[in-house]
């Protein structure tokens, strides 16, 4: 690998990290889907297959201490902060080795030690919460940025608009990232939104720049993230970024996505973020052997995680009554 060709404003190391992260998210989520087909993943799950460049780009651009706020479609954002695959798959498989020992499930992945401050399953709820974390940073003079990910459907709920206005008037160090995958659940977002770009076309209402990026290009995502984080750390306030992308699977595991017009998925698969990024790295002079090694390492990591999860016990019943209150228990009376 020649560093001269592969490094511009993004270093070779960072580019390989972007590649590795995207492959990791893809392999882990593909495995989650396979395990679901084997009836080993219980409950619901919402995959980000095809959207990995957004999670990878924003996470790789973060510093330690920056905070991620995710939605129920949060596996990718959680993994991108370095949470072990085993912890995530274990939670999806209702095992005791899961991130929350099975108490949260797929839609609530949280790892405070990695800066993943929660995955929120009520649309819009976490935008104000991310504002609060950013308010704390501003209040204390901390340098961390709160980054809040959500889908296009979220732009039509009240909390989105309350949070945008709130972040703007208080100039909070928060970055709002709309992953526009063209569908709110089963309905085209264009059918239910007054403007073409559900997030970016609302930015002006809150005095913010209109930012639309190719969410399938990890380099473009990373550059955008860096700019937004710098702005937040400078004290210049929030950003709202609309990243265009496409999910390869349905809304949730229950959805075969038959509502999509013929050929749409195929045309987006040609723009698969991982395929495109691999091609770019090869063009920039990274050897195929280096990429193949990364691919194999990730495959091994996911396989080892799967084996560990299959062998892990179910959570014990005694945790049903823990951590309702801060004393560790659930007592509501004497």
């Amino acid at each position: 690998m020649s560093k001269k060709t592969v490094t511009d404003d993004i270093s070779a190391e960072v580019r390989l990290e972007l590649y590795r992260t995207q492959v990791r998210l893809r392999e882990a989520e593909q495995r989650a889907f396979d395990l679901f087909l084997q009836n080993l993943v219980k409950g619901t799950s919402h995959l980000s297959l095809g959207q990995e460049a957004i999670a990878a780009g924003f996470a790789v651009a973060m510093q330690k201490g920056d905070l991620s706020f995710c939605t129920y479609r949060g596996h990718a954002h959680t993994l991108a902060r370095g949470v072990p695959v085993e912890k995530v798959l274990g939670e999806l498989m209702s095992r005791d080795n899961g991130l929350m020992r099975g108490k949260g499930g797929s839609m609530h992945l949280t790892s405070v030690e990695h800066g993943v401050m929660g995955s929120y399953a009520i649309i819009g709820a976490h935008l104000p919460i991310a504002c609060g974390a950013a308010w704390r940073a501003q209040y204390r003079g901390d340098s961390d940025v709160s980054v809040c990910f959500f889908g296009d459907g979220t732009t039509n709920i009240g909390a989105f608009h309350e949070a945008l206005n709130f972040a703007a008037i208080w100039k909070l160090p928060v970055v709002f990232v709309c992953e526009n995958n063209l569908y709110m659940e089963y309905t085209p977002i264009a059918d239910v939104t007054a403007v073409e770009h559900p997030a970016a076309d609302r930015a002006a209402a809150y005095g913010l720049e209109r930012i639309i990026i190719d969410g399938n290009d990890a380099d473009e995502v990373l550059r955008t993230a860096r700019k937004a984080y710098e702005r937040a750390r400078r004290g210049d306030g929030p950003s709202l970024i609309e990243a265009m992308t496409y999910r390869h699977s349905g809304h949730s595991r229950a959805d075969p996505a038959k509502y999509r017009p013929e050929g749409e998925l195929e045309s987006w698969k040609k723009r698969d973020p991982i395929k495109m990024y691999r091609a770019r790295l090869l063009k920039l002079g990274v050897s195929e052997a280096v990429l193949n090694t990364i691919d194999q390492e990730i495959k091994d990591e996911v396989e080892a995680a799967t084996v560990a999860c299959k062998a892990a016990p179910a959570p014990s019943a005694d945790i049903i009554f823990t951590d309702v209150y801060a004393d560790g228990g659930w007592a509501w009376r004497n």
Partner: protein, 326 residues
């Protein structure tokens, strides 16, 4: 010792905690420069400045979400939702976010915050600005619910709420804001989950909350003076945690029990208490468990109508008399 209004006690309790702990911050609509629409936060902006006492837009979801995010990452926010009825427009935070984050994350996320709300009727504001919402909050595992009736309790329970590591819903009664009481000088810190026997008695126990407490006390005085019936009045004060021991011990002494609840009848806190008493003190009882509540209706605005539906001393006297004479 000074005589304070209930509204001044709110500001005093908050000031006590803000002076003690720089992580305590206060946000809400009109709470800073204007001192609050109920004037319960007067002077705090002047004392602690715009960084710690901050006005917000009319955005209840943003207020509570911001309080939660700040609490999760190290602050101890106090957020005001002006009229308790407005809890309905930000209910997600009460029902889904504050109380479940700790549990769902296996203890990783903590939300030590206080939400203050202007609760209750009597101000002729009609059905959307007069409700008593303590029951909405009581039913959610993970919340704590505090409902003080006097200035001294406001100060002490506010301090306890701010210092508590869990989300605490603090319901201030709008019709009590102007009432007065003696409050000692110096720091006051009370304990959540403790009921208070305000008037000992031997013939019946009356359990009351908030605005119903002074009405129960007035009724008890009249029952004693006019009918020789000696009622014990307990201010429940905290619905979660709930001090069942004080209540069960009282029932074991008096053998008769009444609740006085401002809320509409169905699923009121009194129903939960009566169910506990029926389960655990059934053989102590000499008569039926009787709840005195607002009928199951939205509150009317007109003074004559509102006064007919919210329980008052006359109705308590009449109900106790009728029940004990059967």
């Amino acid at each position: 010792m000074a005589e304070l209004t209930y509204r001044d006690a709110v500001a005093r309790g908050i000031a006590q905690e803000m002076a003690r702990d720089p992580d305590v911050v206060l946000i809400g609509e009109d709470i800073a420069k204007a001192g609050g629409v109920f004037k319960a936060t007067v002077g705090l902006y002047e004392q602690f400045g715009p960084r710690r006492v901050r006005d917000t837009p009319i955005s209840e979801q943003a207020i509570l979400g911001a309080a939660m995010g700040a609490a999760m990452t190290g602050l101890k926010p106090i957020a005001e939702i002006m009229f308790a009825d407005f809890a309905a427009v930000c209910w997600d935070y009460f029902a889904n976010e504050f109380p479940k984050s700790r549990y769902m994350t296996n203890g990783q996320v903590k939300t030590p915050l206080v939400v203050r709300l202007g609760n209750g009727g009597g101000a002729r504001f009609g059905a959307q600005h007069s409700q008593s919402v303590e029951n909405w909050c009581m039913m959610i595992p993970g919340l704590k619910v505090v409902v003080p009736s006097s200035p001294i309790d406001v100060v002490g329970l506010m301090a306890a709420a701010v210092r508590d590591p869990d989300p605490v819903i603090f319901l201030e009664h709008k019709s009590l804001y102007a009432t007065k009481g003696e409050v000692p000088d110096g720091e006051i810190v009370d304990t959540l989950g403790t009921a208070k026997i305000l008037r000992p008695g031997k013939d019946a126990t009356i359990l009351a909350l908030s605005l119903m407490v002074p009405r129960a006390l007035e009724a008890a005085d009249r029952l004693q003076a006019e009918h020789g019936i000696d009622c014990e009045v307990i201010d429940v004060r905290s619905l979660v945690p709930l001090d069942t021991q004080t209540i069960l011990a009282s029932v074991a002494r008096t053998h008769r029990v009444f609740t006085v609840e401002e809320n509409p009848r169905l699923c009121g806190w009194g129903a939960e208490l009566m169910s506990i008493i029926a389960d655990e003190a059934f053989y102590e009882l000499d008569g039926p468990l009787v709840r005195i509540t607002t009928p199951h209706i939205p509150l009317p605005a007109a003074d004559v109508l509102e006064d007919l539906v919210i329980p008052n001393a006359a109705r308590i006297v009449e109900t106790v008399l009728r029940t004990l004479s059967n």
